[in-house]
């Protein structure tokens, strides 16, 4: 009896200490966890993501931080895979006790990490475009889903190029097949026809039989969704070598890859929520600030890194609206705020996803991407009907 009383006294004392310590805690930095693939397949893009986060944190801290507290980054390598992501998320959530997670991840890594996020009840802003329909009350997405990326290309080919017969080529994996399944449905819905749909394993490099089939099918336009990097380059080179000069929409190419492909990439159409050529004050300011901070070390900002920058600002806006870093309050506020960034004004207001302005670009002879047309506020559609906001 006495023992248990003294124990509860001890508890009360501990509680008092915690309360007394609270003002001191407020001065501690707010921790932002960034689990990314610094090694493995994502290592090509991860450094640009980290740079984006660093700039956002530096800018916010220079202006007094969030709710009077500074921001601090905790970057963790997830080795671009599911097993690595579990470790990275686990250590960020339970050891580093981060206040928020902001990062791009592969779909496999994201799926492996979401149960950990749910257990820790930490808000997670997912900044990678993906195949859609991943839903968690703790996750918000500020990047595109197929419903936003595919229509600009198909509509443009349909209306401006008079294309009715489409040929689809992809890499044999979830994202490649998912994107093309959506593309096929969308083409058929808008009155077009898919005359061929072919896949090669991810490590395959000889596209010859598929290209011969493509030529045999005589389509009006071609849309591809390969794994990034090597498969995309080999397919494009072999298409060019085989003399294929159809309107060519590539769902997996980014500016950096297009530039490295040289003249073979010329004429490719791509659809993205960010290209460096966006003609807005916010984008120019952002690019100049990145250039100033990183100089020769700068990794070209891209469709995976810019959402990271904006998501840090989204967290700031949400914490300020909630008036606290308390995670439940921040989660609620994340669906209500909007931030102005290089991609324009972004609100994650549609079932935890964001309507986005999409840009249809065409690769030029010098490897740069010229914006042909912009499609403002493309709706992500019903991604998570069971989530309220």
């Amino acid at each position: 009896m006495t023992l248990s009383r003294s124990f509860s006294n001890l508890l009360a004392a501990a509680a008092c200490t915690t309360l007394l310590a609270a003002p001191a805690l407020a001065a501690d930095p707010i921790k932002i966890g960034v689990p990314v693939g610094l090694s493995g397949a994502n290592s090509v893009v991860a450094p640009s993501v980290v740079q984006s986060a660093q700039l956002a944190v530096e800018e916010i801290n220079a202006k007094g931080g969030v709710l009077g507290r500074q921001l601090a980054l905790e970057v963790a390598d997830d080795a671009s895979g599911a097993a690595g992501a579990q470790k990275a998320f686990d250590s960020l959530v339970f050891q580093k006790k981060v206040d928020v997670l902001i990062s791009m991840e592969t779909s496999a890594a994201r799926n492996a990490a979401l149960p950990i996020v749910a257990r820790g009840k930490v808000p997670y802003i997912y900044t990678s475009f993906y195949e859609g329909k991943s839903c968690s009350p703790f996750m918000y997405v500020n990047a595109w889903v197929p419903e936003q990326q595919v229509p600009p290309i198909v509509d443009y080919f349909n209306k401006e190029k008079g294309a009715k017969k489409f040929f689809l080529i992809g890499s044999d994996y979830a994202f490649g097949r998912g994107m093309l399944a959506f593309t096929k449905a969308y083409i058929e819905k808008t009155g077009g026809k898919v005359v061929g749909e072919e896949y090669l394993p991810m490590d395959g490099s000889d596209w010859t039989p598929i290209i011969s089939k493509l030529k045999g099918a005589a389509p009006d336009a071609l849309i591809t969704s390969t794994a990034g990097g090597a498969p995309n380059v080999t397919l494009t080179k072999q298409l060019r070598a085989a003399g294929v000069a159809l309107p060519y929409g590539n769902l997996a190419v980014d500016e950096g890859t297009a530039k490295s492909m040289g003249t073979d990439a010329e004429g490719i159409y791509l659809s993205a929520s960010y290209v460096t050529g966006i003609d807005s004050g916010a984008n120019k300011t952002f690019l100049a600030a990145m250039q100033k901070k990183f100089g020769a070390e700068l990794k070209t900002p891209n469709d995976l890194s810019v959402p990271e920058y904006e998501a840090v600002y989204a967290y700031k806006a949400a914490a300020e609206k909630a008036g606290s870093t308390e995670q439940a309050k921040v989660l609620k506020a994340l669906g209500e705020i909007s931030v102005e960034g290089p991609r324009g004004k972004i609100a994650m207001s549609k079932q935890h996803h964001a309507p986005l302005t999409m840009y249809l670009g065409q690769v030029q002879a010098d490897g740069g991407v010229k914006v042909i047309k912009s499609f403002p506020n493309v709706d992500p559609g019903a991604q998570c009907p069971n989530l309220k906001s």
């Binding site: 290592s43 090509v44 044999d172 072919e198 896949y199 090669l200 394993p201 490590d203 395959g204 490099s205 000889d206 010859t208 039989p209 598929i210 011969s212 089939k213 030529k215 045999g216 990097g229 090597a230 380059v233 080999t234 080179k237 072999q238 060019r240 070598a241 085989a242 003399g243 890859t257 490295s260 492909m261 040289g262 003249t263 073979d264």
Partner: protein, 292 residues
């Protein structure tokens, strides 16, 4: 009647494309496996680093194109780089393992990791790009076909001719065959078998590098690019049983079946064709198809 005729001519066009696909695929497979035929078929060393030497050759072609050298020199530079690295690897690693085939597998696998990492350190992890020396298509029997792929058929024939000449027409070839048949006897005849093995391994690796340089204009250059060719090359060399002629034949037959499976069933199955059929063939005839 005209509709029928048009259908007939379309079939004909598809046939031509199919035949060209088969021939060029066989040629590329032959180029990629020729280096392995020397090292595995002749020296009986299972060289898992074969893929890395293909990669080395590809980066040699990349360097050649960055230096602005004429594209014809790219395979030569590749042969030099692959041959030198191969010879060095033979001296340091492979030499000790001629009697220990299982250890050789592990050691060459390790070697491939080392080479892959060195390439990554020197050139970075990203996918790079060598422009094709000839671009566009050539008209063959009324069909546009990729000019560079057709060029590969010529390259395969040149490599086969050089290879045969080397093995049958030179003193080195004679010594090599002697060393392989009976090393002790060859040494007794005054042949420096250590030197012969060094040169042969170097040439094998150099040939792998040439293959790398030749396929880059159709592929991308990245530190793992050789890997996708490794299994196919091994299977082809194994069923060929160590002869150049049977290697050519197995490339044509299995490459042809790969193209047919890819065209008429699915490219995913096509990717498995060579491995599966080679496994079946080896089950039926473990010694391969060369008359030993």
């Amino acid at each position: 009647m005209t509709a029928f005729f048009r259908l007939g001519s379309m079939r004909f066009a598809l046939m031509i494309t199919l035949v060209l696909d088969i021939i060029t695929t066989a040629a590329i497979l032959f180029i990629v496996s020729a280096g392995l035929l020397i090292v595995f078929g002749v020296m009986k060393i299972i060289n898992f680093a074969h893929a890395s030497f293909i990669t080395v050759g590809a980066y040699a072609a990349l360097v050649a194109s960055r230096l602005g050298l004429p594209p014809v020199l790219a395979p030569a530079l590749a042969f030099l780089a692959g041959g030198l690295i191969g010879a060095a690897a033979e001296r340091v690693v492979v030499r000790r393992l001629y009697g220990r085939p299982l250890d050789a597998i592990l050691a060459t696998w390790g070697l491939s990791i080392v080479i892959g990492q060195l390439v990554t350190l020197a050139f970075g992890r990203e996918v790079q790009f060598v422009p094709a020396p000839i671009s566009g298509t050539v008209m063959i029997l009324g069909e546009d076909y990729s000019g560079y792929r057709l060029l590969m058929v010529g390259a395969a024939i040149v490599i086969a001719a050089l290879f045969t000449g080397l093995l049958n027409g030179t003193r080195l070839g004679l010594s090599t065959r002697a060393v392989i048949m009976n090393e002790t006897l060859a040494q007794g005849l005054g042949i420096d078998s250590t030197r012969v093995r060094l040169i042969t391994f170097g040439i094998g690796c150099g040939l792998a590098a040439i293959a790398g340089a030749l396929i880059t204009p159709l592929a991308s250059v990245d530190p793992n690019m050789g890997l996708s060719w490794l299994i196919g090359a091994f299977m082809l060399v194994m069923i060929s049983g160590g002869s150049l002629l049977t290697l050519g034949l197995s490339c044509l037959v299995l490459g042809g079946l790969q193209v047919l499976a890819s065209t008429f069933i699915s490219p995913i199955l096509g990717g498995l064709t060579i491995a599966v059929l080679a496994a079946v063939a080896l089950r039926l005839r473990p010694e391969g198809f060369a008359r030993a």
